[in-house]
């Protein structure tokens, strides 16, 4: 049986009942568009995170509170608050050879006011070495020093975007702003660093770590620490030293009891990729369920088609169609229907991916539109697979009909 003719007949048959055809392929459209979207958005988000981590630098060691099981991300990566890491722990790491700068972090999302202007910002408590650790440069004014820290001074440095939002083009240095009803004096602002990753460094407001802990948060722990190493070749030994020092300070003998996690950027990257990877798997599972439901819809419609066309099957057998001819005809029809849904799904998925990429890029993030040939090939394979799997039973039923019973069927 000629395949092209079969496909043409299948599509003609579909168009003869447009509403049913549309409902039949809707499940496939949703499932396939979902797969394309998930792969695209997943890759885009991953590129965003990876770009950010790379932009921070590869000779940084991160310290997070809370231990972790082998191969799993630390609890802090899921937003669980752990209070075991203190500022002194971080400061002690400064003594390690090859370490050039250290800083701790404590963050709070809150409103920042200047006169009647109001913006939401992540206020970040850090130490005086922050600019060195993260290669951040001041556009004007100065960063806070040890004296500011020790005196719990209420001074602030603005990210370039916050500066622009609150002060436009005027110089903010010397002005007073309000953070959580406390008055802070602006002593400097940062150069534009560019938006990368989920946290935009230009939207941060920096205050001394002690001020953050005592006045804003009322705590004495840090949410993260960073250590800068003079050269990437010293990373591994420095990581080991950091772990040893922290264990000594926390009185830990057994590595299983670690209440902190130390990771180089490289390891951090792997951890984050494993997080995004598991999210991707979850979303893919949901799309797969949509596809299976769509496939069951196809099977249902193919069973109806076999019943409706029993007479035609009888006629085809009467003029010489073998079982395999009928089986193939109905399989090709099922594949044609799913493919039509699949093509529409790929188009819709691609268009939505492009829209998402466009919106995020407009917001200033480095988000790449990634619709890989892989995802389209996988989607196409899945579509044909569904056509075969869910089309087989109805097609088999059709092929086994006795010619005369099929011909008599009205």
């Amino acid at each position: 049986m000629n395949i092209l003719l079969t496909i043409r007949l299948a599509i003609k048959g579909l168009l003869a009942n447009k509403i049913r055809a549309f409902l039949t392929i809707l499940g496939i459209i949703i499932g396939v568009a979902g797969i394309i979207l998930i792969v695209s958005v997943g890759n885009g988000a991953e590129s965003l995170i990876v770009n950010q981590i790379k932009s921070v630098g590869s000779n940084l060691i991160g310290i997070l509170p809370g231990g972790r099981e082998e191969g799993e991300p630390p609890a802090a990566a899921f937003g669980i608050i752990i209070t075991t890491l203190k500022e002194d722990d971080i400061k002690a790491l400064k003594e390690i050879p090859h370490v050039t700068a250290v800083t701790g972090y404590a963050k709070s999302v809150t409103q920042v006011l200047f006169r009647n202007k109001k913006v939401e910002s992540t206020v970040t408590g850090t130490t005086s070495e922050y600019p060195e650790v993260e290669d951040a440069k001041l556009a004007n004014g100065r960063y806070f020093n040890d004296l500011d820290e020790n005196s719990v001074a209420k001074v602030a440095i603005l990210g370039s975007k916050i500066k622009q939002d609150l002060f436009d083009d005027t110089n903010p240095v010397g002005e007073n702003i309000k953070i959580k009803n406390e008055t802070f004096k602006v002593i400097g602002y940062m150069e534009e660093r560019g938006a990368s990753g989920f946290s935009n460094n230009d939207s941060l407001v920096f205050i001394p770590l002690k001020t953050m802990q005592k006045i804003i948060l009322g705590t004495n722990h840090v949410s993260m620490g960073r250590v800068k190493v003079d050269d990437a070749s010293h990373m591994d030994e420095t990581v080991d030293t950091v772990i040893r020092i922290l264990r000594t300070r926390h009185g830990i003998d057994n590595p299983k009891d670690d209440d902190f996690t130390v990771a180089s950027q490289e390891q951090g990257l792997q951890i984050l990729t494993s997080v995004t990877g598991s999210i991707k798997i979850l979303l893919t599972a949901i799309a797969a369920i949509a596809l299976i439901v769509g496939g069951i819809g196809i099977m249902n419609v193919m069973f109806i088609a076999v019943t409706e066309r029993t007479h035609e099957i009888g006629l085809r057998k009467a003029i010489g169609a073998k079982q395999k001819d009928i089986l193939r005809q109905f399989l090709i029809e099922a594949i044609s229907i799913t493919s039509l849904g699949g093509i529409i799904g790929i188009l819709i998925g691609t268009v939505i991916s492009a829209l998402i990429a466009f919106v995020i890029q407009t917001l200033g993030y480095k988000w790449d539109l990634i619709v890989t040939p892989d995802s389209i090939i996988i989607a196409a394979g899945v579509i044909v697979g569904i056509g075969i799997v869910f089309g087989y039973a109805p097609a088999k039923k059709a092929s086994l009909l006795s010619p005369i019973n099929a011909l008599r069927y009205e």
Partner: protein, 242 residues
């Protein structure tokens, strides 16, 4: 003509069971057909004439008995072997035409060649010629719902002939047609017979059976009469006289 018969049917029975009730449609039919025969099977509804035709055409299988077709014992053949015989050695014409909807006359006529694996170019050539032969050269691209009953039946005849079958089987081919179309269709059968085709027609209309050479009358699942038709008896008599 002292040749072997094209088909030999011996003691064929056919039982249908619906639940616990068994109905015998055929109760031991014996029958022979030779190349070039033109036979009309007649009988009332329920006489078994259609069942007989379906068994001859391998659309249905007998409950017991033997059926030799072209020297082969067909009771042992597989479903695919039977499909092959239906495709290459038989041509069917049905009362309800049985053309594929949404498919042009030309593609309908091509269908048996598609299943036979004939080269596509030859398919179109042969199907075009076959439709011209039944006077439908102007209707090749039309779909069945755009054709009259007589035209549809002519497409069906073209389709039945397309693989040069040994035997043409027609089940009430004029049952849905008016008298004018009936005459046209029977004219085609007459011409096929003249050209040497072997034809079996099931009918209950005398004006149809009159065209046949032999008449087989069935009643209650048995053949109770098998004779030369009056018209042909007359012709045969004249031939003998010459």
């Amino acid at each position: 003509m002292n040749k072997d018969p094209l088909l030999v049917i011996k003691d064929i029975t056919k039982d249908y069971s619906t639940g616990s009730v068994v109905t015998s449609a055929l109760k031991g039919v014996n029958f022979e057909v030779y190349d070039g025969d033109f036979i009309a099977i007649m009988g009332h509804s329920g006489s078994g004439k259609s069942t007989m035709l379906h068994i001859i055409g391998f659309l249905d299988t007998p409950t017991s008995g033997t059926y030799l077709f072209d020297g082969i014992d067909t009771t042992k053949l597989t479903e695919d072997d039977l499909a092959d015989i239906r495709n290459k050695k038989l041509g069917f014409v049905f009362q309800a035409y049985n053309l594929l909807p949404r498919t042009s006359a030309l593609d309908n006529v091509r269908m048996p060649m598609i299943y036979a694996g004939v080269d596509e170019k030859i398919q179109f050539e042969k199907a075009t010629k076959a439709l011209e032969a039944v006077g439908l050269s102007h209707r090749m691209k039309n779909h069945p719902n755009e054709l009259s009953g007589g035209e549809q039946q002519r497409v069906a005849i073209a389709r039945a002939l397309i693989n040069n079958p040994r035997l043409i089987l027609a089940d009430e081919p004029t049952g849905n047609l008016d008298s004018k179309s009936t005459e046209e269709i029977m004219g085609i059968f007459d011409e096929l017979h003249r050209k040497g085709h072997t034809i079996i027609i099931v009918t209950h209309e005398d004006n149809v059976s009159d065209h046949a050479e032999q008449i087989v009358k069935m009643k209650d699942g048995l053949v109770f009469q098998h004779h030369i038709s009056e018209k042909h008896e007359h012709i045969a008599h004249n031939k003998a006289g010459n």
